[in-house]
């Protein structure tokens, strides 16, 4: 019985609630509706809503004004007081960088590498003139050296026809930036590089310009062509005997009594010193570029220069000297970059059909010089980079780049010292925080064939907007006979760096 009553009550309760709500909404039970009262209630409700809106508006206004009144700090001049005109007729900017390298297993000396970079530009109507000058001093070479390098000085004339796109014609000395790889760019071989500090400086800071004429034609929004002709050859700066980064193979030859002769460089001026171009375009959000270059290689290849006759066998198999040469090279290539999801993928490949010369192991087997007196053979070579970027990895301002790098020699000759193929990985992590007052980065590279590795770590602090101090370390690892990083296994060091800009 009790259960039946409860069951009935279960249905009654919602009905009572609904009835109560209806009666409450209709007004007092049994009372007729008073229009005046209803109007007053509506007005009151409206007043309440208006008051609410006004209050909300006031709050919004106050909130907005508070934000707009945010102070820019006492040491920040008001925007209107900022000088808006250039102080000099020439626009310029500069940078001073000094570094001190601690002693290590290689030697007990402190070393230093310093530079002052100046960049200036000026517009003369349709003509723009740009220049870049470097003064540097370092004690990383056999003798302390102070140098002046006019890295760029070129004039650009702008053609802006109504149809046919935009054209810039430039003449002078200009740096070209080819390829999309991060620090490892197989295509970026046009401009001479200063490798005396090895990879202490980034690739763009190592380069100097090429003298010539340059055309930059933006056909339309999709296509762009850059071409150049350079009648001047300039070799890059490479480590030599006695330098901090002297190549171990060169040292072994010198210790064996083989002389290092003066480099065999092409004429400074020749009409075919170098020319090339690249065509850039986009396809389905992918940025592509095709490249071609022919000219003398700014980086040296060492070849046997003088050969003596063996006293016992009477054969020309006794190397007496080697020298740096700069063979002509033909380079074709392509690169691509495209975002996929939250990562950006990129790839770059360079195929060298001429001018890739490889040393034979004549130090072990001098008879190789009978067939190839230069001790080098020419082969086609492919170099490539495939990589990805990720910005804001896990946390904001953490950037990561990972790359797979490789090289392959076609029609491989087993007498060649370097392997037929070699692969490796590069990694770069950079994190900045406290509005970039602090920055930490780490760069790593490993080559699998000889397990050669290079680690580069740096932490920087910016006490002023124009000053940065850094502390870093570089370590090498690998077989001492290896060609790349292993030979510098004893040259790990810690350094401090100061950078000022103006």
């Amino acid at each position: 019985m009790e259960r039946v009553v409860l069951r009935q009550f279960r249905w009654m309760l919602p009905a009572l609630i609904v009835l109560t709500m209806l009666l409450t909404a209709a007004g007092p039970l049994g009372a007729s509706e008073d229009p005046a009262t209803a109007a007053d209630q509506t007005a009151d409700a409206q007043t309440t809503a208006d008051d609410g809106d006004a209050e909300e508006t006031l709050e919004e206004d106050a909130f907005m004004q508070d934000l707009l009144n945010e102070s820019t700090g006492g040491d920040v001049p008001a925007a209107a007081e900022v000088d808006t005109g250039p102080a000099l007729p020439l626009s310029y900017e500069g940078e001073v960088m000094g570094s001190l390298w601690a002693p290590n297993d290689h030697d007990d000396d402190w070393h230093t590498s310093n530079r002052l970079d100046l960049k200036g530009w000026k517009e003369f109507g349709a003509l723009n003139v740009d220049g870049r000058l470097r003064l540097d001093y370092q004690d990383l070479e056999d003798e302390d050296k102070a140098r002046v390098d006019l890295r760029e000085l070129y004039a650009t004339y702008q053609l802006r026809p109504g149809t046919g796109g935009y054209v810039d014609l430039a003449m002078g000395k200009k740096i070209l930036y080819w390829g999309k790889g991060d620090e490892v760019r197989p295509l970026d071989r046009i401009c001479p590089e200063d490798l005396t500090a090895l990879y202490f400086n980034d690739i763009n800071d190592r380069k100097t310009g090429r003298v010539g004429t340059f055309v930059d034609w933006q056909v339309n929004r999709q296509f762009r062509f850059e071409g150049f002709w350079s009648p001047v050859f300039e070799a890059g700066e490479s480590p030599e005997l006695g330098d901090y980064y002297e190549p171990s193979k060169l040292r072994m030859l010198a210790d064996a009594g083989i002389a290092i002769d003066d480099a065999d460089e092409p004429d400074d001026w020749s009409s075919d010193a170098g020319f090339g171009g690249r065509l850039m375009f986009s396809v389905v959000k992918a940025d592509l570029a095709l490249y071609g270059f022919q000219g003398y290689d700014p980086k040296p290849t060492y070849a046997v220069h003088r050969i003596g006759t063996h006293p016992l066998y009477g054969l020309p198999i006794v190397p007496q000297s080697v020298r740096a040469t700069h063979p002509r090279m033909t380079l074709y290539g392509a690169d691509i970059e495209r975002a996929f999801g939250s990562v950006v993928l990129r790839a770059e490949a360079a195929y060298q059909s001429d001018g890739a010369w490889f040393s034979l192991d004549w130090a072990q087997d001098p008879t190789l010089l009978l067939e190839t007196p230069s001790g080098t053979v020419e082969k086609d070579q492919l170099q490539y980079v495939v990589g990805m970027d990720k910005q804001d990895l896990f946390v904001h301002n953490l950037f990561m780049n990972l790359q797979f790098v490789g090289t392959h020699i076609f029609d491989y000759d087993s007498r060649i010292i370097v392997p037929e193929s070699d692969n490796g990985v590069t990694a770069y992590l950079r994190y900045s925080f406290l509005d970039s007052k602090f920055e930490v980065w780490y760069r790593y590279m490993i080559l699998f064939e000889e397990t050669e590795q290079r680690h580069h770590f740096e932490i920087g602090y910016k006490p002023l907007p124009w000053a940065k101090v850094s502390l870093g370390a570089i370590t090498f690892d690998g077989d001492a006979d290896a060609y790349y990083f292993g030979q510098y296994d004893d040259r790990d060091f810690v350094y401090t760096k100061l950078k000022l800009i103006f």
């Binding site: 920040v76 802006r160 975002a339 509005d435 970039s436 907007p465 124009w466």
Partner: protein, 270 residues
């Protein structure tokens, strides 16, 4: 969203006439969604320079109440064939030369590139990173021109008054379910379509970022808010942008807006 709206979100650099205001009727709940989209569409097309626009800007970053950094910024915009390109470059401090380019496209996303002088080449920005903060600022890549109108749905709210200006209030919700900031509410000045205030909400529906504009001046026939403040309420970090000088249709070189030219020197300085 078209790049012109960059000025709304970053500098709120917009033209101002009352002509389009008449195209928007009074608030009607039944048409709130189409009205919301329409207001954004108008704002998008409302304020474009005939040829180009350049703004010399000073940026102040604040962490809490303390000024943590100041930077000079030059912003350039060019309109070509109905599509815009915008460049944003730091011109002093150790960030000097860092340049951000947005290329408006007719496709579902705009193209964005970052040029860092130390790297020496432009780097694509992944479209999924468009709601990530740009460098150390309180603005996202999306605020810098990466926004596409079709990425959001819109709903107009009741009109409101903000610091004496009658405003359209529109709430935009991201279609992407993984959006870092799924909702933003914008107060557009009914006269100029300048967004006087934008409130941006995070995934927890908490108000995280607020952008406000003020000190509106006339440059040529364009109204420009000379002060924009963006604040991250959760991080308690603020970005203040003050325009020092601005020019309209001064004849900026179109080649400056090519990604391969992002490292080139600019004749403009301040």
């Amino acid at each position: 969203m078209r790049i012109k709206l960059l000025w709304s979100f970053l500098l709120a650099l917009m033209l101002g006439t009352a002509a389009h205001a008449a195209e928007i009727g009074p608030y009607d709940r039944a048409t709130a969604e189409t009205d919301g989209r329409r207001i954004f569409d108008i704002a998008d097309h409302f304020n474009e320079p005939e040829k180009d626009l350049i703004a010399y800007t000073r940026m102040t970053l604040k962490s809490g109440d303390a000024v943590s950094d100041t930077r000079k910024v030059i912003v350039k915009e060019i309109t070509d064939g109905g599509l815009s390109r915008i460049l944003f470059r730091f011109t002093d401090s150790l960030k000097r030369g860092l340049t951000f380019l947005t290329i408006e496209t007719n496709g579902p996303t705009n193209d964005q590139y970052l040029f860092v002088p130390a790297i020496g080449r432009p780097r694509q920005i992944a479209s999924q990173d468009r709601q990530n903060n740009f460098e150390d600022t309180d603005m996202t890549n999306e605020d810098l021109g990466g926004l596409k109108l079709d990425d959001y749905t819109y709903k107009r709210g009741r009109d409101a008054t903000l610091v004496g200006h009658a405003c359209y209030k529109v709430t935009a919700r991201a279609k992407a379910t993984d959006a870092r900031f799924p909702k933003r509410t914008t107060w557009f000045d009914q006269q100029t379509f300048i967004p006087l205030q934008i409130k941006v909400y995070n995934r927890d529906n908490k108000l995280q970022r607020v952008l406000v504009t003020g000190d509106v001046r006339t440059v040529g026939n364009i109204h420009l808010p000379f002060k924009t403040v963006a604040k991250d309420l959760i991080e308690n970090h603020t970005t203040i942008l003050e325009i020092v000088r601005a020019k309209v249709d001064s004849g900026i070189d179109p080649l400056d807006f090519d990604k391969e030219k992002m490292g080139a020197a600019w004749k403009e300085s301040f």
